[in-house]
Amino acid sequence: MRIGVVTFPGSLDDVDAARAVRIAGGEPVQLWHGEGELRDVDAVILPGGFSYGDYLRAGAIARFAPVMEPLLAAAAEGLPVLGICNGFQVLTEAHLLPGSMIKNDHRRFVCKDQRLRVENVRTSWTSAYTAGQEIVVPLKNQDGQYVADASTLERLEGEGRVVFRYVAGNPNGSRNDIAGVCNERGNVVGLMPHPEHAVDALTGPGTDGLGFFASVLTGLVAA
């Protein structure tokens, strides 16, 4: 199974995402931001980092990158896409996912091991979890406060599209403790915490993040 990992010039966690794919048994494929092709991958991860420096707004410039054009088209056709942290921000800027992220309520960068509840296990990236399962994965960002207008929030909640919620304390002021959401079809998922940093107990808080990569690989085999 070929899982593409997009590298923008300021991507930082692309090596980690590729490693996580490998550990889960997939084949990571590097996708360069400046090339408008997806190289026949079966799924795509937009990793964490600062895509183009992100001085303007996280993900604001990356949204216009050449690689995004085929990605948007493929996502509409059901290609599994996971946006992690900056990748999530890129997906909201591209309006593939609703809402947006603003500065953390405490206005500082925060790096911590974060407890999450998996609220929706019907997405391409969460089928390996059980509904309501709590997992611990690192969270690290400065602009992680999820915001959306009231009607969007209502719709997301009503349609079960809040995929992850922060538990044991909201680390950034996100509305409804939202840590991650998905599109209507469930193939596009974005979240602020970093599952790719929780795939090896030696270098992370545990291995709770492996389920993301296992989910998509299993789903692809089944499909």
């Binding site: 303007l56 707004r57 604001a60 410039i61 216009f64 909201t92 800027e93 309006h95 609703p98 809402g99 947006s100 603003i102 500065k103 953390n104 309520d105 405490h106 206005r107 406060q145 915001v147 959306a148 207008d149 009231a150 002021g173």
Partner: protein, 85 residues
């Protein structure tokens, strides 16, 4: 040579953590009577030539997509502004 200024502010219904922090700090430093503070971004765009209709339209388009995210922000665009600094 034309200068265009684009101001981008969070929509009023979105809580502004930076504005709130400034509001708190102003009060602590003794400024009384502040009702509210919002913090946004200001872009000063200097154009080599004059601002024609096509460029104006293009600028509005970019102000509403690149410079601001309409999900959370509003922009306002002003033309021929004096140097602020």
């Amino acid at each position: 040579m034309a200068r265009v200024v684009v101001d981008v502010m969070l929509k009023p219904e979105i809580l502004d953590p930076q504005g709130q922090a400034v509001e708190g700090a102003l009060a602590r430093l003794g400024l009384a009577g502040v009702a509210s503070v919002r913090q946004g971004k200001r872009f000063e765009i200097d154009l080599a030539g004059e601002l024609d209709t096509a460029t104006r339209a293009q600028l509005h388009e970019l102000a509403g997509t690149l410079l601001s995210n309409p999900v959370i922000e509003d922009y306002s665009l002003r033309e021929n502004v004096e140097d602020a600094s």
